[in-house]
């Protein structure tokens, strides 16, 4: 066995990444369209954090098994209920979003009846209506922060590379945001406070991918001044392929543990992050780089005499 396993990855690969770019562009366009359609027809499944809902206290003479209570709530059809220990172990706070178009009080009474059937000693004082956890102001400031952050990242990449790189990166990141939101919408995964964190993680990982990709491209642009841009992009991608595989797998492994063993509360979040990491890697290769190819780059005027090292082939 070849240990360390890195030796298993071939030293040199010659994948024609750019050749597949038009197909990838079509696929991305289709996915974005699908995301938008889903987004505008069924929208995001905004959870109780955003919409508010109903809070009910549950009391028992013995400690309340939170996990069992959660499972039971899921079984009787209360989706994405939040269950929290409340004051003493014998008391729990249940928060849930009532079904659209249903009378909240009637639904609360029905849930109470079903819960008491399962936990005979359970008592539940009157439910109360609660407001959203995320206010408009909070969300607004969040979007503003994100917008400014993206602009400044664009600025930095522009400064370090060229404008095409900055704009390409930001467009690719937007692509990732849209597809991730699209996934949340299509699968109607509850969008909560923690989904925001997942989205930020996706953006962070994706941006990291773009910068690393560009760095290699920039270096190769300087090294091979007359090679066609398309070949340089392919070359850069092939050169950093082993890194992409190792880094991507490590990140996926780290999340995989939580995906399998993390339980139903964390699953949607980790699922979103995993999807985002895959999409972020994909969009670096198939969105950010082809955009640069479309726009072209300014090349080779730093040194007077371009050094030709053999076009299109690896040294």
């Amino acid at each position: 066995m070849a240990w360390p396993l890195i030796r298993l990855i071939p030293r040199e690969t010659h994948f024609r990444f750019v050749k597949w770019a038009p197909i990838a562009a079509g696929l991305s366009a289709l996915l974005i369209l699908g995301s938008c359609v889903s987004f505008f027809t069924q929208g995001l499944n905004l959870g109780i954090d955003f919409k508010g809902g109903i809070a009910m206290e549950a009391r028992m003479p013995t400690p309340i098994p939170l996990a069992e209570l959660r499972t039971e709530l899921g079984r009787i059809g209360v989706h994405d209920a939040q269950v929290q220990g409340f004051g003493s172990p014998n008391s729990a706070m249940i928060r849930f979003l009532p079904e659209a178009g249903q009378d909240a009080n009637a639904e609360a009474a029905e849930i109470k009846q079903k819960l008491v059937a399962h936990f005979p000693t359970m008592t539940m004082p009157a439910p109360s209506v609660i407001g959203a956890k995320v206010s408009g102001e909070l969300l607004g400031s969040g979007f503003k922060a994100l917008g400014i952050a993206l602009l400044l990242m664009l600025g930095y990449i522009w400064f370090r590379f060229q404008w095409q790189f900055g704009v390409g990166a930001v467009i690719a990141v937007f692509h990732d945001i849209i597809l991730t939101l699209g996934l949340l919408s299509v699968m109607q995964i509850e969008f909560s406070m923690t989904s925001i964190a997942a989205l930020l993680t996706v953006i962070g990982y994706s941006m990291n991918e773009k910068v690393i990709t560009f760095d290699r491209l920039k270096e190769n642009l300087r090294k091979y001044k007359t090679t066609p841009l398309r070949d340089i992009i392919d070359l850069s991608e092939n050169e950093r392929l082993s890194r992409t595989i190792i880094t991507g797998s490590t990140a996926l492994l780290a999340l995989g543990g939580t995906m399998v063993f993390g339980g139903p509360v964390l699953f949607p979040l980790v699922f979103t992050m995993t999807f985002g990491i895959i999409i972020g890697t994909y969009s670096s290769i198939y969105i950010a780089l082809p955009l640069i190819l479309v726009w072209g780059v300014k090349r080779g005027d730093e040194e007077a005499t371009p050094i030709k090292l053999g076009a299109g082939t690896r040294p």
């Binding site: 508010g52 407001g131 910068v211 492994l253 509360v265």
Partner: protein, 533 residues
């Protein structure tokens, strides 16, 4: 690069010691921790509300007091409006939610009605052209003014919303506590804040309305008048905040209010060295303050907080800049607290504490436990993978990662920032990027070795070349983290904070620690070939 300079080795050793010392309190049982001498760090990670629960405070917005206050304001508005238009009136007063006034000159009743309809109250939210006050003519010059029922409801709802935002600003100003603040029912607010936060401190910050006004002291009212209760209309007698301070008569109408403040900070007075609150008005507030102080040089005004005056200084000269200081027997802490309250803005109404209790993790204790176990499994899988992939160098990377985690937990414990679930997401991203840094370095080394360099030279060049990419990627991360920390709030802030800490520790551990480890290995093993080439 691979030269083992003394500073690098020292930095590595110091950071490892730092990481262990500051992380240790989280691993020791409380009993052992209590037995340790005082100079050993005792701070544990401050877990957020979602992970470990905390205090739960239920407040009721005092909408009755709010209504009463608005009615009092209406009385004053009626007085000024009628006076300005020289309409004579009498019997102005409020009872049972209705403001009554009698216009003395029968010829001017109609003029008064239309004037009051135009200028009292404001537009009604949600109704185009509607007003929130009604004015009715009861004959014989008697007018009655009251708020329409919808206005009372809209007022209460607005007060609750404003209170929520103000409370959030106040608690955020205390640091990254990441509270959850929700409306409950029509006029209640639930505030939940993480375990380590002190409920008494929270109450002190939430419970105060912090309505600041500057009001002229009415020096025509003598001590005897006050005792006899001969108070002219438009003047009110208020107590002081200091025990033993005499009550003073002040004009009901405020010169300037705290709403116009742009900043307030705790400072020390140059002359007395006492803690004071320095404030500055902006825009129209600064103009109003400047005008008022110019007009009233030599007179006294009262700085009033929630109906009690803090001090009543004499205006020695006009203050056109709109800034000044508030003195009044403050301790640095109480001055800082008042400054915080003034900066965050006043609550629209008084809040009454209804219930307080301790609550469990918001995500549910069961979910948190499952999450912790699964994270450990994920981390273990990551370590195994990186070691399998890079062999000995993989072990180095894993060691760097361990130090990285120690440093992050150590710094988080030391700064007592709140770690929430979004923060953990930031942590996972950080670790992924840290692994990436190591991978970039190793892949570079392999490239250089493949290009025919000697192991030492390949390793050295690998580090140097990978540095560029690593720095670019991390600076980009840091830019976004800084912005999100500055502008964002709640979960975004928590995420940004862990990410920022992580960027620094990752760059340090992935570059310096790995370098020292590989440097030592080169010295000891004198390899002919890189283990990863």
């Amino acid at each position: 690069m691979l030269t083992l300079s003394r500073w690098k080795v020292t930095a590595v050793i110091l950071s490892v010691i730092f990481g262990i010392v500051f992380t240790l309190p989280n691993l020791l049982p409380q009993k052992t921790l209590d037995a340790l001498p005082g100079w050993v760090p005792h701070q544990k990670l401050n877990l957020g509300l979602d992970l470990q629960g905390g205090s739960y405070l239920l407040y009721e917005v005092d909408t009755d007091a709010l209504r009463k206050e608005r009615l009092t304001n209406m009385v004053e508005d009626v007085r000024t409006t009628l006076r300005n238009d020289q309409i004579e009136f009498g019997e102005l007063g409020e009872s049972g939610g209705i403001v009554r006034v009698r216009i003395t000159d029968p010829a001017k009743v109609d003029q008064a009605v239309s004037l009051l309809r135009r200028s009292i109250g404001g537009p009604l939210a949600g109704a185009i052209g509607g007003r929130d006050t009604s004015v009715s003519n009861k004959g014989d010059g008697r007018l009655e003014l009251s708020f329409v029922p919808e206005a009372a409801k809209a007022d209460a709802a607005k007060a609750v919303d404003q209170s929520i935002e103000t409370i959030r600003r106040r608690i955020d100003a205390l640091g990254t506590k990441e509270p959850t603040i929700t409306r409950q029912g029509s006029n209640r607010i639930v505030i939940q804040a993480a375990g380590e936060s002190d409920p008494a401190r929270l109450q002190a910050v939430i419970g105060q309305t912090a309505k600041l006004t500057f009001q002229m002291v009415d020096e025509t009212v003598s001590q005897e008048d006050m005792i006899a209760g001969r108070i002219p209309p438009g003047v009110v007698v208020i107590p002081g905040t200091q025990p033993g301070a005499p009550p003073i008569p002040v004009a009901k109408r405020a010169l300037v209010t705290g709403e116009d403040l742009v900043t307030a900070n705790q400072e020390f007075d140059n002359q007395s060295g006492q803690a004071v609150v320095a404030f500055r008005f902006g825009g129209s507030g600064a103009r109003k303050f400047g005008d008022a102080t110019t007009r009233n040089v030599g007179k006294r005004f009262a700085i009033v907080l929630d109906g009690k005056y803090i001090s009543d200084p004499r205006i020695n000269q006009p203050l056109p800049g709109g800034s000044g200081i508030i003195t009044g027997n403050f301790t640095p802490e109480s001055a800082a607290e008042l400054a915080l309250l003034l900066r965050s803005g006043a609550l629209p109404a008084k809040l009454n504490l209804e219930e307080q209790r301790t609550v469990g993790a918001e995500l549910g204790a069961d979910a948190v436990k499952a999450g912790a176990i699964s994270l450990a499994i994920g981390a273990a899988a990551m370590f195994v993978f990186i070691i399998l992939a890079y062999g000995l160098f993989g072990i180095f990377a894993a060691l760097a990662l361990v130090v990285n985690v120690l440093l992050i937990i150590g710094i988080m414990s030391m700064t007592q920032a709140t770690l929430t679930f979004p923060g953990i997401a930031g942590l996972i991203l950080t670790l992924a990027v840290a692994v990436d840094a190591n991978v970039l370095i190793y892949e570079r080394m392999r490239d250089e070795a493949a290009a025919g360099r000697s192991p030492m030279s390949a390793a050295d060049t690998g580090f140097r070349r990978a540095m560029v990419s690593i720095m670019d990627a991390n600076i980009t991360s840091l830019i976004s983290a800084a912005i999100m920390f500055g502008f964002g709030s709640g979960p975004i802030k928590g995420f940004a904070w862990t990410l920022s800490i992580g960027v620094f520790t990752s760059v340090f551990t992935a570059i310096i620690i790995t370098q020292v480890l590989i440097g030592w290995w080169f010295k000891a093993a004198k390899p002919k070939k890189l283990p990863i080439a």
